[in-house]
C-alpha cells in the first residue's frame, strides 16, 4: 500500500519540464514536502530550448514510486514523466575523481584507469584527477579501486538515462 511496506527498488525517472525559473525548486520541494528521498538528480536543456530534461533516481516500493510519479505529473510545469526502470534503459554518470598519487603509485593508478577507460585530466606532484563515465556499477568499482591510494575528492554529475532502442521521450503531440 501507499505507506510503503513493499519491496524497495531503485527507479530512474525522466521528466520533461518547461525550461523556466523555479521549476527545479517545485520538483525538489515536492520531494521534500512529501519526505521522499532523491538519490541523484541531473538537469539539462533538451534539443528544444524551451524544454529541460530532469533525471531523478529515487528508491521506494511500487506504491511510493507511483505516488512520486503522480505528484510530479500534477506540477503545472511538468510536461511528461516516465519511469525508465519499467523498461530497458541505458544510464551513465560522469565522475571526476581526485586521488593521491606520487611517483610510486602513479603507474598503478594509470593502469587501473585504463581498465575503466578513465581519462587523466589533471596531474600534479601529489595528485591525479581522473574522469570516468559509466553506469552505477562501474563508477562504484573504480572509486573502490582508488580508495587504497587515498581518494581526495569526488564530483559526480548525477545519472542521466534513456530507453534502449527506438523508443524516445517525446513531448505529447510531437
Amino acid at each position: 500500500m501507499a505507506n510503503g511496506n513493499g519491496q524497495q527498488h531503485e527507479h530512474v525517472i525522466s521528466i520533461l519540464v518547461e525550461n523556466q525559473a523555479g521549476v527545479l525548486s517545485r520538483i525538489s520541494g515536492m520531494f521534500s514536502a512529501r519526505a521522499y528521498n532523491i538519490d541523484s538528480l541531473a538537469v539539462g536543456e533538451t534539443i528544444d530550448p524551451t524544454v529541460s530534461r530532469i533525471t531523478i533516481t529515487a528508491h521506494g516500493d511500487d506504491a511510493i514510486i507511483e505516488q512520486i510519479i503522480k505528484q510530479l505529473r500534477k506540477l503545472i510545469d511538468v510536461i511528461r514523466v516516465v519511469n525508465l526502470s519499467e523498461k530497458s534503459y541505458v544510464d551513465r554518470e560522469l565522475v571526476l575523481i581526485k586521488v593521491k598519487a606520487d611517483k610510486k603509485t602513479r603507474g598503478e593508478i594509470l593502469q587501473i584507469a585504463e581498465i575503466f577507460r578513465a581519462r587523466t585530466i589533471d596531474i600534479a606532484q601529489g595528485s591525479m584527477s581522473l574522469e570516468v563515465v559509466g553506469d552505477q556499477k562501474k563508477i562504484d568499482a573504480i572509486i573502490q579501486m582508488m580508495q587504497p591510494f587515498g581518494v581526495l575528492e569526488v564530483a559526480r554529475t548525477g545519472r542521466i538515462a534513456m530507453f534502449r532502442g527506438e523508443e524516445t521521450l517525446r513531448l505529447p503531440g510531437a
Binding site: 501507499a2 523555479g22 503522480k70 505529473r73 500534477k74 503545472i76 510536461i79 513531448l171 505529447p172
Partner: protein
C-alpha cells in the same frame, strides 16, 4: 478577437481589465506600497465590487468563502511582504480543500528583488507548497497571458489557489497592443475530465455484483455538482451514502439512503456501514486520516474500492483502488449510469437503515443550554434555508451533525487545514456571492476572535452575516482531547476570567463589542430564549452576533480517537 485598446496600457490597467473580462464580481483586498498602482486603477470601474477587509488573511478566506459558495473563482489583491505573508494561511486553507482562487500580490520592483528591500518577501518561494501554481511576472508583456493562465489553472482539473506576484515596475510598465487572450493552451497541463470507459464498465459490474456497497462522497462531488447523478445511482442500486465533512450537501441528508458524515466524529451508522461494506465507491473523496483512522483496520471487509477522482494523485494514495477512474465526478457518474443495471440490496439496507434508526446522533435533553440544541433549533427555525459557514473545532462538528444539508455549497468549512478564524471572513465572502441568501456563521468563542476585526468589514459594507457563537469559554475541541487523552489537564484552553468566588467573566463581551461597531449583539443564556433570539437576529438586515452561552464541557460524540478504528468508537453518554 477585437482589439481591446488602442493606446498602450499599464500593467495595473491590464489587471483591472483582465478581472472584468474574467467576470470577477467581487475583489477582496488590502492595499500597500507595492500594490499602489493596481489600487490606483482598481476603483476606476463599477464592474466589480471591492471589499476592503481589515487583515489580509480575511481577504483570502473571504475569496475562499465566495468561491466555495458559488463555484466561481475568488479573487484577492494584497500588497507585498507582510500583506502577502498574511494571506499564506488562506492560500494553504484553499489548497487543502481544492478551492479556486486567484491572489494577486504586489512585489518590490524587479531590480530590487533579492536585495532584502522594504516589504520584500519571496512569496513565490513561500507559497509554492500551498498553491496549485504561482507566477512571478517580470515583464508586462507576459501579464495578460499569466492572468488568463491563473484563472484557468485555478478553476479547472482539481481546483486550487493560484498566486500572481506582481512587481511594482511591472504594474507601471506600458504594453503596446494589449489583448486579453480568449483561450489558453498549456501543454504541460491537461486535466482529464472524461473517465475511461472500460474502467467505468468494470465499476458497473463490481457494483452489480456487490453485496454490501457504500457510496462515500467528498468535496469533489460538491465541486462537480454531481447530486442528481449520485441520487440516481444510490436509488437505482440501493446503495447507502456517507459523506466526508466537506462532502456534506453533495447528497441530500434528508434522503432515506443518507448515512451522513463518516470518520472521527461521523455517525455510528456511517462508520459501521463502512466497516461492513464489501464495495466502497469513493466519489471525489481522498480517504483523509480523519475519515480512515487506522488504515490497517479501515473497511476491513472491502473486496473492491472504486475510486472516482479528478486528481490521479488522490487515487491509491492512501487506500488502494481496485477500479481507479480519473475524471470529473459528475461526468463519470453520468457515464456509469449508462451501464449499471438496477440491483437490490435488501438485506444490506435493512442492516444499515436499522443502525441509522437505532443509533442516531443524540445529546442531553435536560434544561441545560447545550450547543447541539442551539444548532438543532437554528436548523428548525430557519427551516434549513441558509448557507452554513463554520469555524473549526466542536462548533464545526455540531454544525455538521445537527443540520440537514440538502444541496451542494450550503456547508462551508475548512476541512483539510482546519483553519481557526476561517468562519467569519469566509461567511462574509459567501454572503457577497449570495446576496439574496441567508448566510449563517457557526463558530466558537475561540475561532471568532481570530478574525474578529472583520466586524468592521461586515458593518461598513452592510454584509448581513448572522454569526452564531457557541460560547463555552474554552477552546472546546482541545479541551475535549485534554479531558480524554491528557488526564483532564486543561492547559491553555480557558478563555474566560474566573474570580475567586467562582464567577466567570465572558471575555470579550460580544454584545458590547458589536455595539462598538454599531451592530447588534444578542446574549442568550437560557434554553427557552433560543428561538426568539434567532428570530430577532434574522429580522435585522445587518450583521448580528448571537452569543449563546452554552454548557462549557460538552463533548462531541461519537468519537473514534485519532489513529484508531470503529472498534474503538466512543459513543458518548446514553
Amino acid at each position: 478577437m477585437p482589439k481591446t485598446a488602442n493606446k498602450p496600457m499599464t500593467g495595473a490597467e491590464i489587471v483591472v481589465d483582465a478581472l472584468i473580462r474574467e467576470g470577477v464580481e467581487v475583489v477582496f483586498g488590502y492595499p500597500g506600497g507595492a500594490i499602489l498602482d493596481v489600487f490606483d486603477r482598481l476603483n476606476q470601474t463599477n464592474k466589480y465590487k471591492f471589499i476592503l477587509v481589515r487583515h489580509e488573511q480575511a481577504a483570502g478566506h473571504a475569496a475562499d468563502g465566495y468561491a466555495r459558495s458559488s463555484g466561481r473563482t475568488g479573487v484577492a489583491i494584497v500588497t507585498s511582504g507582510p500583506g502577502a505573508t498574511n494571506i499564506v494561511t488562506a492560500l494553504a486553507t484553499a489548497y487543502m480543500d481544492s478551492v479556486p482562487m486567484v491572489v494577486i500580490c504586489g512585489q518590490v520592483a524587479t531590480n530590487a528583488i533579492g536585495n532584502d528591500a522594504f516589504q520584500e518577501a519571496d512569496i513565490v518561494g513561500i507559497t509554492r507548497p500551498v498553491t496549485k501554481h504561482n507566477f512571478l511576472v517580470k515583464d508586462v508583456a507576459e501579464l495578460p497571458e499569466t492572468i488568463k493562465k491563473a484563472f484557468y489553472i485555478a478553476a479547472t482539473g482539481r481546483p486550487g489557489p493560484v498566486l500572481i506576484d506582481l512587481p511594482k515596475d511591472v504594474q507601471k510598465a506600458k504594453l503596446e497592443n494589449y489583448q486579453y487572450p480568449t483561450s489558453i493552451d498549456i501543454r504541460s497541463y491537461k486535466p482529464v475530465e472524461v473517465g475511461n470507459t472500460s474502467q467505468i464498465k468494470r465499476a458497473a459490474q463490481v457494483i452489480e455484483q456487490s453485496k454490501r456497497p457504500i457510496l462515500y462522497v467528498g468535496h469533489g462531488a460538491v465541486g462537480s455538482n454531481a447530486q442528481a447523478e449520485l441520487v440516481q445511482l444510490a436509488e437505482r442500486c440501493e446503495i447507502p451514502v456517507t459523506s466526508t465533512l466537506l462532502g456534506l450537501g453533495a447528497f441530500p441528508d434528508t434522503h432515506p439512503l443518507a448515512l451522513h458524515m463518516i470518520g472521527m466524529h461521523g455517525t455510528e451508522y456511517a462508520n459501521l456501514a463502512m466497516h461492513e461494506a464489501d464495495v466502497v465507491i469513493a466519489v471525489g473523496a481522498r480517504f483523509d486520516d480523519r475519515v480512515t483512522g487506522d488504515l490497517n483496520r479501515f473497511a476491513p471487509q472491502r473486496q473492491h474500492v472504486i475510486h472516482i477522482d479528478i486528481d490521479p494523485a488522490s487515487i491509491s494514495k492512501v487506500i488502494e483502488a481496485t477500479v481507479p477512474i480519473v475524471g470529473d465526478c459528475k461526468l463519470v457518474l453520468a457515464e456509469l449510469l449508462k451501464y449499471v443495471k438496477a440491483c437490490k440490496h435488501t438485506e444490506w439496507l435493512e442492516r444499515v437503515l436499522g443502525l441509522k434508526k437505532n443509533r442516531p446522533l443524540h445529546y442531553g435533553s435536560d434544561k441545560k443550554l447545550r450547543p447541539q440544541y442551539v444548532i438543532d433549533r437554528l436548523y428548525h427555525v430557519l427551516k434549513g434555508d441558509a448557507i452554513v459557514v463554520t469555524d473549526v473545532g466542536q462548533n464545526q462538528m455540531w454544525a455538521a451533525h445537527y443540520w440537514q444539508y440538502t444541496s451542494p455549497r450550503t456547508f462551508i468549512s475548512s476541512g483539510g487545514l482546519g483553519t481557526m478564524g476561517f468562519g467569519f471572513p469566509a461567511a462574509i465572502g459567501a454572503q457577497m456571492a449570495n446576496p439574496g441568501k441567508r448566510v449563517v456563521c457557526i463558530c466558537g468563542d475561540g475561532g471568532i476572535q481570530m478574525n474578529i476585526q472583520e466586524l468592521a468589514t461586515a458593518a461598513m459594507n452592510d454584509i448581513p452575516v448572522k454569526v452564531v457563537i457557541l460560547n463555552n469559554r474554552y477552546l472546546g475541541m482541545v479541551r475535549q482531547w485534554q479531558h480524554h487523552f491528557y488526564a483532564n489537564n486543561y492547559s491553555g484552553v480557558f478563555l474566560g476570567r474566573k474570580h475567586s468566588n467562582g464567577k466567570i467573566d465572558y471575555i470579550p463581551d460580544f454584545v458590547k463589542l458589536c455595539d462598538a461597531y454599531d451592530l447588534t449583539g444578542i446574549h442568550v443564556e437560557k434554553r427557552e430564549d433560543v428561538d426568539a433570539a434567532i428570530e430577532k437576529a434574522m429580522a435585522i438586515p445587518k450583521c448580528v452576533f448571537l452569543d449563546f452561552v452554552v454548557e462549557p464541557e460538552e463533548d462531541v460524540w461519537p468519537m473514534i480517537p485519532a489513529g484508531k478504528s470503529v472498534d474503538d468508537m466512543i459513543c458518548g453518554l446514553a
